[in-house]
Subunit: 350 residues, 3 copies
């Protein structure tokens, strides 16, 4: 088991890396420290001084550089040691830390964890979160999941669980048994569910008020490897078209912290015409936070606790039709990781 | 190291499994969920959905069945999956959980952990706890011991420690050096101690008031494999017979939780003629709770901490005469486990 | 990785072992219990009864002996079991615990952890802490470091970090780049730094008031194997001699608790002529405690967390000129441990 390294992962929200302050987080088992240069651009470095292994975030920002808090070695944004204040001041060739490519986009700080050149074309498109998109962005959130990211990815790609785990909130009973249609689209896996004539789940009851009567509902979840998701979900009157509807884009982004823990960022974007009072917008955000933090997280944490350090497949999971998407995704991740290993340069340090 | 599986263990007290609620506990390293059918009879199932390993106790009771909280698979009392609400609804052959035989007796819920047919003849006789027995049942208790059950079993079978650990409460100084007589009785090991002419330990001072003067005291501890104990202990006037006495049956039952932790249930039954005010009955129960929870438990927990993950015999324990019972018991457990392995069907899933 | 065993280590301060009470601590991975005989002399025994592994500190002091709290075995100061109160009272030959040589000196209780005869000539000389020395002893302290003792020993032997980690307190900016001179002296390693014409660090500003102007400063740190340190550090007017100065001896003593944790005792002795008000003496002690506990300890703990269970050299640390002392010390410890192993008797139980 390892991770796909040559990929963009969300490290944190852009506002979490403030001018003059360091932010640190473990990503894919690597300790990383973030700070901003004087021009405001973000930097990500290995958070461990090569001299005596002290986390660099315990040190000090000096202009565009950071200085280790223990013996004062200084590193620039490329990770090179540029100052050894001791003795003759010579800088050993090995005195450097890894620098990671970073990119700020859609309110998030993305980091490229691999050795191959960072490829911006691979950065997932979450432009619905940008102010210029015209969408209403709902308050998002961050949840620390005590489970492997693939378990959480299964949760997102297979939404059949919303009837059970999120009943009345995101799901409703008549959704059960909905057909799901899987398609692949340039490396993405898309899972569509169409649920005609169902009672309105809580979250849509507010977005699309129908004091009585049934609706048609759809969910279309798109997996963008290795662990980014975009949901298109909504309802309209039975038999109507999308012209008259309540819907939103759900943003769900997973970053492995360790093999057994995951950083989970989520947000939502509602179309411009959506009419919500401030109280309703707050309730919409709270409904989603509740579903993810108080309903999904306990299930995920319990799954990992049951697995322990045992490999997923070694547990011989029973496979159902709803697992078609998750299994295809797991196989795609395996293929991507295997391909990455084959093309890695022999000299790679990874 | 493993456990004797084909045996009855106490899972919990019967009242802990309430109608309409699930109770869950780890027993012999296995996660088990308990609930009651609509007719009140108890059910014990493996507490892990075979689909995605979510504990079933996070789900919902549906009549006599339980429904997984994540994707709604339903299991009946035999552990068979009886409903897959998704897609074509087909139920894979592997979609089942283990069902454990259970039996309610003497106020406790017993569970049979092995693959051999459950044998009620092997259920230890604690009928002194039944209302029909006419005995007065003292408030019992439950203690979570952070030690292997065999360390706690040694504590119970060898009562020479009461002078030191429970001095003034269960023991008194003159008991030291009492002869102990070991006998075997159809697979049980019985350890008898006879302590003539001693001062009265606190617990008997109340049961058998003698404002002054010495008593004769006996303890007869019976081990019923793998980890159930019944104590017959009392005092009478020096040289008198059992007609004039204060005594009780002590019930001590151990269930391994993991290799390093134990569920410990205890109770006591006093003969019908025992005269105790309510306050005295409460004090009797509290004396015993104090002795087991605040005197025995710290010693047991410290023993396991000193052992760590090292095997008991690898520590080369010094053996004394008082260890004759404990050693004989450990050897008996080893023989029982070895015999169980030999007779196990090759197809056994254990 | 192991420890040098045939050496004196500080177990605790002498006042921590009080008459009639037991004190216990893990030293070099061994559980040790301390108590005082009736004549006041200290005893150190293995803190684990050989019968059932219960820590002896849970038992009772009986005159010059201690009695196990579980079954009453008694051990004398030599570690021999002298009483088995059970059955025929015979005492198995194996019924003994290890007794460690101890020595009270300089306010500390020293313990010899090896199998070779304890050699008082090897006890480090901290007589500056003795009342007879005429030195003013500053309030010392104890810190539990969550790091291997060699990481902490590097901190002490290489004081180049004081400019960065203790700036304004123990160090000042102009110290950077000071030459260090290493010498060896009968197995000791001495690291001298001479820092002429610098601004006064806080701790010396108080000891040697110069409201303005620069000083010459020296630090001379002596390592006495395996993990004792004595610092001679002070300042005087630029170009002056040691006649007019402010200085002190710093005492720093490390005792491994486990491979990853360390007992750290520190103190200081100021020359008789030092003029400090009570408030200043308290501030001097507090400055040092703050530097060691709130500046050094977080760095040390973070180093060990970054190392995890990986060997120091396997991390391929970048070596700077300031590491000459630490590296020489690490190599000396390796040689001493290797020599100890070679001379160990084959029959040694260690």
């Amino acid at each position: 088991m390892t991770y796909l390294k040559n990929a963009w992962y969300v490290a944190c929200l852009t506002h979490q890396v403030r001018a003059g302050e360091m932010f640190h987080r473990t990503l894919l088992d690597e300790a990383v420290v973030f700070y901003r240069k004087q021009d405001g651009s973000p930097v990500a470095l290995q958070d461990r001084c090569p001299h005596r292994f002290v986390p660099l975030h315990l040190g000090t920002i000096r202009g565009d550089q950071i200085e280790c808090g223990y013996h004062g070695l200084r590193f620039d944004c490329s990770g090179a040691c540029v100052k050894n204040p001791h003795g003759d001041g010579k800088i050993p060739a090995a005195a450097k830390v890894r620098a990671y490519p970073v990119e700020e986009r859609h309110g998030m700080l993305w980091i490229w964890m691999g050795d191959a050149p960072a490829d911006l074309a691979l950065l997932p498109d979450y432009s619905v979160l940008d102010p210029s998109s015209g969408y209403l962005v709902s308050t998002g959130g961050y949840i620390h999941i005590k489970a492997n990211y693939e378990l959480m990815a299964e949760n997102l790609l297979d939404l059949s669980h919303i009837t059970y785990l999120h009943d009345g909130l995101l799901g409703s009973p008549e959704q059960v048994g909905a057909d799901q249609v899987l398609t692949e689209d340039e490396g993405h896996i898309v899972c569509r569910r169409w649920m005609p004539g169902i009672s309105v789940p809580g979250v849509f009851d507010m977005l699309y008020r129908r004091d009585q009567g049934l609706v048609d509902m759809w969910t279309e979840m798109r997996w963008m490897p290795p662990s980014c998701f975009l949901l298109d979900s909504g309802v309209h009157a039975v038999g109507a078209t999308r012209e008259d509807h309540g819907w939103y884009y759900g943003v769900h982004i997973l970053t492995p912290e360790t093999r057994y823990t995951t950083h989970y960022h989520f947000a939502a974007a509602l179309p411009a015409g959506t009419r919500l009072t401030d109280a309703e917008a707050a309730k919409f955000a709270e409904m989603r936070r509740f579903a993810f933090e108080e309903q999904d997280k306990p299930i995920l944490d319990a799954q990992q606790a049951a697995l322990g350090e045992t490999d997923f497949w070694a547990m011989k999971p029973v496979l159902l039709t709803i697992d078609a998407g998750p299994v295809r995704m797991r196989r795609a991740i395996e293929r991507l990781i295997a391909a990455e290993r084959q093309t890695a340069q022999p000299a790679s340090v990874d």
